[in-house]
Symmetry: C2
Subunit: 190 residues, 2 copies
């Protein structure tokens, strides 16, 4: 028995990449197993069902996001820098083999994924919106962001558009993604 160090984490890494690349219905346990050089059943040992695996991926993603936004390196940034950090997450996804946001990927397939995973992705989406809303609110208070209406609605618009822009970029190129991010900033700073 060759002990692969931290199999659980390696499986989660691969599952996360596959979710962002092919979608929940676009990958199988066999994909993960062959990539890792183990058998299907080894994956089922760590994550009994595909729903368990999906939920674990999203849970870890949520934890990571919480760690970041509560970390001084993000918490103490100016609103503009916070927003740039946030957009940077999506820019990195786009650069990493044209991945899309977990939220967008799973919500596009929402009606063909397990209920537990639906709930989990809803929680992540709410948390992303909440942080973005607070950041926009802070920025408008400081006079650096300018927009009409509720920060919650502006947050929903911005998050929807970066999510959509990552998908758009798959068919129309990275250029289009950058254009959308620039336009968001233009609308916010003008």
């Amino acid at each position: 028995m060759v002990k692969i160090e931290n199999s659980q984490r390696t499986i989660l890494n691969l599952a996360e990449a596959l979710l962002q690349d092919k979608g929940f219905n676009g990958f199988s346990y066999a994909h993960i197993a062959s990539e890792l050089g183990v058998k299907n059943a080894a994956i089922h040992y760590h994550f009994p069902s595909k729903e368990d695996l999906g939920i674990a991926v999203v849970k870890r993603y949520r934890d990571r996001f919480h760690l970041w936004i509560n970390n001084a390196r993000v918490k103490d940034l100016s609103p503009e820098a916070k927003l740039d950090w946030f957009f940077g997450i999506y820019t990195d996804m786009r650069a990493d083999k044209g991945k899309v946001c977990l939220v967008g990927s799973l919500e596009a397939e929402f009606n063909s994924i397990p209920a537990g995973l639906q709930a989990e992705i809803g929680s992540l989406h709410k948390e992303l919106l909440k942080w973005l809303e607070a950041t926009l609110s802070e920025g408008r208070g400081a006079g650096v962001f300018k927009f009409n209406g509720e920060p919650a609605n502006k947050a929903a618009l911005i998050l929807s558009s970066v999510q959509g822009a990552l998908q758009m970029a798959r068919a129309l190129g990275t250029r289009k993604f950058r254009d959308v991010v620039e336009q968001i900033k233009l609308d916010l700073m003008a």
Copy 2:
């Protein structure tokens, strides 16, 4: 042999609904066949491969869009009314069992769908953007829309956000979709 009138169209209707509901990897020929009360092979008779079926759905969607935008009932509208008509398409999707845009659905699964379908969805996306860009340009010229930057970039932002908002609404409710559309209008009219 019970003759179902216009099977081809009935299959396309069902396939389109399934694509917008479950995604390309979330439905099968068996789903369509059982819903129509025929056998799998009957679907293969009309559309030999799943790629053929997907392409036919998107092609028909494109044709429909072209017909509408070239029709006087849309062509002769004011820019604001044109935009409302456009948003109405997405509002209707949301109301119709929480469907999402074909473009968003297929681009989220982009890396796990056939190449021919990838190309077809790219063409549709370009056409939607082109029309929206022209409408925004016309509206800004007429003084009814206000925004900075290129109409092409503003069009990409708006299309991305309605696409993303339909997906968001699946996890967070129709309310959120409406909020995004209202915010787009607010940003455009202020």
